[in-house]
Symmetry: C2
Subunit: 203 residues, 2 copies
DNA sequence: CAAAGTATACCAACCAGTGAATATACACAA
DNA sequence: TTGTGTATATTCACTGGTTGGTATACTTTG
């Protein structure tokens, strides 16, 4: 156990989350994580068999909260389907304007560990994105969209693209641009009778 | 100079390019680069004042060739504007299917060094993407598109999104999906008289 | 000769991971 | 209650190797 009531393993994951998300994987030593928790490195290795294991646990811990947040933003938004999806991008833009924001932990980890294709952390990241894609596909299917998977993937491309671009330029307005593109693609894919009247397109 | 006629500095950059692109920045030591070139580390530090300097040179060396390739793909493609842009995505998908492909070096570097916002390599990456965005904007403006910057940014979001997603899932078909979205967005933004007749949209 | 370029040898700090001993907590017997 | 065994949890001290960077001296070339 520990000083507080929180189990040590969870406190280690919480510390790993902060450090890995902020500074990346390879620039954070196991010693640094242990020091942040206030335990010895040997204790950390009692709970996790390797650093790779710890990295996987770090991403696994971000999976559900992240998905839940997206769904919450979607559910809370007013308007039709395009507006509700666009709301995700708007909320993301708001997050991205916080100075501690550093993009998507899953994407950044997969970029850093690109030379280790089978790494458990990458598999967790891939599964995470697939879950989000599948959720979007179901939402679109329920609205009668002809090819819901295709549209879900296009929205995901815009989303992950905005993570990458905003991280590079440090300009969150790209996220709103992505949201408008998503809006437009969804609007165009909607069956005629569900489409809003005030579509702006072309010159 | 060197054994071959190629200056040592260039040979160092070539080796750094292979190693950094393949394995990332922090997992490649300066010793490894020097060994690959066949010089001592001290020689490397004669030509580059630090590792950060070398990383910047690595990305600077990828700037023009990369842009030239995109333009070449665009120019060589048949069809109208949407088809020509889509061709970039198709060619990219072909590249991404090669086993040594590891995504976009600029994006991966910015993801790995996200905790060093002012890093010279990140500035070079940002400038690179801005150049591409500007080129696209000019192309769109010449075709009479109402908001060419907005559209250029949306295409860029799809492009960088496909780099990230394909790297994560190792499934290049996402690039073709992105190309179709790009096609659709451009088609919709084109002035009516330049639009192709066979637009497919909706259910 | 002088300048540019390269090599040998080195440093102090850091890294992931481990062996062996120890502390804590709880179950159960006397 | 007290003692004892056992599994869990933790610490100390350490290893062998790697890291970015440098002081100094040697070599090549115009």
């Amino acid at each position: 156990m520990a000083r507080s009531g929180i189990p040590t393993a969870e406190r280690i994951i919480a510390a790993a989350n902060k450090l890995f998300y902020n500074d990346g994987i390879r620039s954070v030593s196991v010693d640094a994580v242990a020091a942040k928790v206030g335990v010895t490195k040997r204790t950390l290795y009692y709970h996790f068999k390797s650093k790779d294991d710890l990295v996987a646990a770090y991403l696994a811990g971000r999976d559900q909260p992240n998905l839940a947040l997206f769904r919450q933003w979607f559910d809370a938004a007013a308007g039709g389907l395009p507006a509700k999806v666009e709301a995700i991008f708007r909320n993301l833009a708001r997050s991205a304007r916080h100075p501690k924001w550093k993009g998507c932990g899953f994407l950044r980890t997969s970029a850093e560990l690109a030379n280790m294709p089978g790494h458990p952390a990458i598999r967790i990241g891939a599964a995470h994105k697939k879950k989000f894609e599948e959720w979007l596909r179901e939402v679109f299917a329920a609205e009668g969209i002809a090819d819901p998977l295709q549209l879900a993937r296009q929205i995901l491309l815009l989303l992950d693209g905005s993570f990458a671009v905003v991280l590079l330029h440090r300009d969150a307005s790209y996220m709103e641009t992505a949201g408008e593109a998503a809006h437009q693609l969804i609007e165009a894919a909607l069956p005629r009778h569900r489409r809003s009247r005030r579509v702006v397109r072309g010159a």
